[in-house]
């Protein structure tokens, strides 16, 4: 068998192993090593690689952002900022139809600005917002669906762990990717708010309205979220202005959220140890996937599969837009069963070379950044698509009285809003690239 054939056959084998519940990182690692051994005809190359690659992956300076952002997210959940954010959003939006649900989305967006993870955002805001939604008579399904969807703003709005990984995989500038993610992230929040408004108009249920709150109180509540803004501007602004490297910014963010948590009295011994253990679990999980993906991708590169596929697609002269739409649809399908980071690490090395040789009338860098944001959005949809959407599970587990089927049904309008937004961003790359073109 030629190297190319081995590479192509490795894909169904890998998928089969993953679908048999083999840990995804382990599956990529084993298939990658096995394939490399087959192509090179011995264990020499593999053993030499293993000697240094594990350490060099774990000790990578750019990847060290990942555990630091995870730590930052953990501290952010302890800080009591979620309550302040919810209150601020609620005083401004609460009197509208579906206002409390809208406020939950707004608060999630705010929390996403200091937290790079969707699950942490959904879980933290869930604790604050679910009881409030219940109090105002929102149905259980709508409440859980709103928070699950709102949670995805955690990765959409920078900082974002997924974007960091994409930036490293495709050798793009993290600051530019964060900047580009900003408008699509805000559009997502607006889209969810519109979705809630439509749902409430079609089916008012027994959600109660609340009285308007005077502007003085509104501005006071808004002022109370200044620590969030400060940390956000330090981290994202600092990277963008070149004050710090992204790793330094992540460390400063972790320190900043820790200080906020400490001031608010959320930083006791139990909380710190819980934050450490959660960071440990997530970090190890992500790095096993990164390690496995590293071996699998270097095997694929050795087998020439990505080059051959992208060469084939250019040769056939397919319509670039059609290819892009098919790729994005594949992500949506995969997202129904797989988690976002695994998906990115598994597929970007194959899809990115394809997209980067196609002509969308953009510069290569613009294409890379635009595609990165689109991928970010479609993998994030995977977090709320039934049957396997991690956010749905996390939120549903917090609300004992709502059945998962209810959550599944109510989340569909939000998924529709996501798909509409993706379509708009695909059709008009300028929306994503607007800030980038303005500032660079």
């Amino acid at each position: 068998m030629s190297g190319l054939e081995i590479g192509i056959y490795s894909m169904p084998v890998l998928l089969l192993l993953i679908f048999l519940r083999m840990p995804i990182g382990l599956a990529m690692l084993v298939v990658g090593l096995g394939g490399t051994m087959w192509i090179t005809g011995g264990s020499l190359v593999v053993l030499a690689k293993l000697k240094n690659e594990t350490y060099s992956t774990f000790s990578s300076y750019s990847l060290s952002i990942v555990p630091l952002f995870l730590l930052m997210g953990q501290f952010a959940t302890l800080g009591g900022m979620s309550a302040a954010l919810f209150k601020a959003a609620e005083t401004w939006l609460g009197h509208r139809k579906g206002g409390v649900a809208m406020a939950s989305v707004g608060a999630c967006a705010g929390f996403g600005a200091i937290c790079g993870s969707s699950l942490a955002t959904a879980a933290t805001m869930g604790q604050v917002a679910l009881p409030e939604l219940k109090k105002y008579g929102y149905s259980g399904g709508l409440s859980t669906a709103t928070l699950a969807a709102g949670g995805t703003l955690g990765i959409l709005i920078p900082p974002s762990v997924v974007l960091v990984i994409y930036a490293i995989l495709t050798e793009q500038n993290i600051a530019k990717l964060f900047l580009a993610a900003f408008i699509p992230g805000l559009l997502a929040a607006v889209g969810y708010i519109i979705t809630i408004s439509i749902i409430m108009r079609l089916n008012p249920g027994n959600a109660q309205l609340r009285e308007r709150i005077p502007y003085g109180e509104r501005f006071k509540a808004l002022f109370d979220v200044w620590p969030v803004l400060l940390v956000f501007f330090l981290v994202v602004g600092g990277i963008y202005l070149g004050w710090f490297t992204p790793t330094e910014a992540a460390a400063i963010g972790a320190a900043g959220t820790a200080i906020i948590a400490w001031i608010n009295g959320g930083l006791n011994k139990i909380a710190i140890s819980d934050a450490m253990l959660a960071t440990a679990s997530n970090t190890a999980m992500i790095f096993i996937i990164i390690l496995g993906a590293g071996f699998y991708n270097s095997f694929l590169a050795l087998s020439q599969v990505p080059q051959e596929i992208s060469g084939f697609i250019v040769e056939q002269g397919f319509n670039p837009w059609l290819v892009l739409v098919i790729v994005l649809c594949l992500y949506l399908i995969f997202g129904c069963v797989m988690d976002s980071l695994s998906m990115i690490l598994l597929t970007v090395p194959i899809f990115f070379p394809i997209i980067s040789v196609l002509d969308f009338g953009l510069t290569p860098e613009e294409t890379a950044i635009w595609f990165g944001i689109l991928v970010l959005i479609v993998v994030e949809v995977g977090l709320i698509t039934p049957p396997v959407g991690m956010n749905l599970f996390v939120i549903n587990a917090m609300d004992r009285t709502t059945r998962i089927v209810e959550t599944y049904r109510n989340v569909l309008p939000f998924v529709v809003s996501d798909i509409l937004r993706t379509a708009i961003l695909v059709a008009f790359p300028g929306i994503t690239l607007m800030l980038l073109r303005l500032f660079y």
């Binding site: 519940r21 053993l47 730590l71």
Partner: protein, 193 residues
């Protein structure tokens, strides 16, 4: 046995977490030093507030801080592995096997845990060989000039603990497959732990 292993994994996670917190502190101090130094070099400060400028320019970034971050984060990640392993927190697609009855699921779990342990042993062995290589060549880092093998060695030790936990976890799942009635249902134990 169960409690010993859980404690071991927990303490490794705390150790890694503490290292991570130290890296946060080092990085923040370094950034602060750099900012103070930059401010001290501003022409305005230099010309008008000379004593402040002298004071500020004494501050500076920690030399080679990124080398400490690299070595520290490698150890931390390795130290995090046991906790992840014991809690079965590794990402996996559970949708399709969810339709299967318990026995084949236990068989799969046992199989993957054994494979994971085997891979972990191989990785640890290779990092150990890497350590001895770096030791033999006397390679040092660029800025701080500390031997590269220190970082490797710390990582090897953490990997050794990860091996112990991976083998223990494999044994748990094997026991669970062959003797599920004994009340060692792994999933229950993990929740309790």
């Amino acid at each position: 046995m169960n409690t010993i292993m859980h404690k071991l994994a927990r303490w490794m996670a705390f150790l890694g977490g503490t290292v991570l917190l130290c890296l946060v502190a080092i990085t923040c101090i370094s950034v602060l030093g750099r900012i103070l130094n930059t401010v001290g070099h501003y022409p305005f400060v230099k010309e008008n507030i000379a004593f402040l400028s002298n004071l500020l320019t004494k501050a500076g970034p920690i030399v080679g801080d990124f080398e400490l971050v690299e070595a520290g984060v490698a150890f931390a990640i390795m130290a995090f592995l046991p906790w992840c392993q014991l809690n079965r927190a590794h990402a996996a697609v559970e949708l399709f096997t969810g339709f299967l009855p318990k026995t084949p699921n236990r068989l799969l779990a046992m199989f993957w845990e054994i494979l994971f342990a085997a891979v972990m042993v191989i990785i640890t062995w290779r990092i150990y060989v890497g350590t001895t290589d770096k030791m033999r060549y006397g390679e040092t880092t660029f800025m701080l000039q500390y031997p590269v093998w220190w970082g490797y060695a710390a990582c090897t030790i953490a990997a050794g603990v990860a091996c112990i936990i991976a083998i223990y976890s494999a044994w748990l799942h094997t026991k669970d497959f062959f003797d599920p009635k004994q009340g060692t249902d792994v999933d229950k134990q993990e929740i309790a732990g």
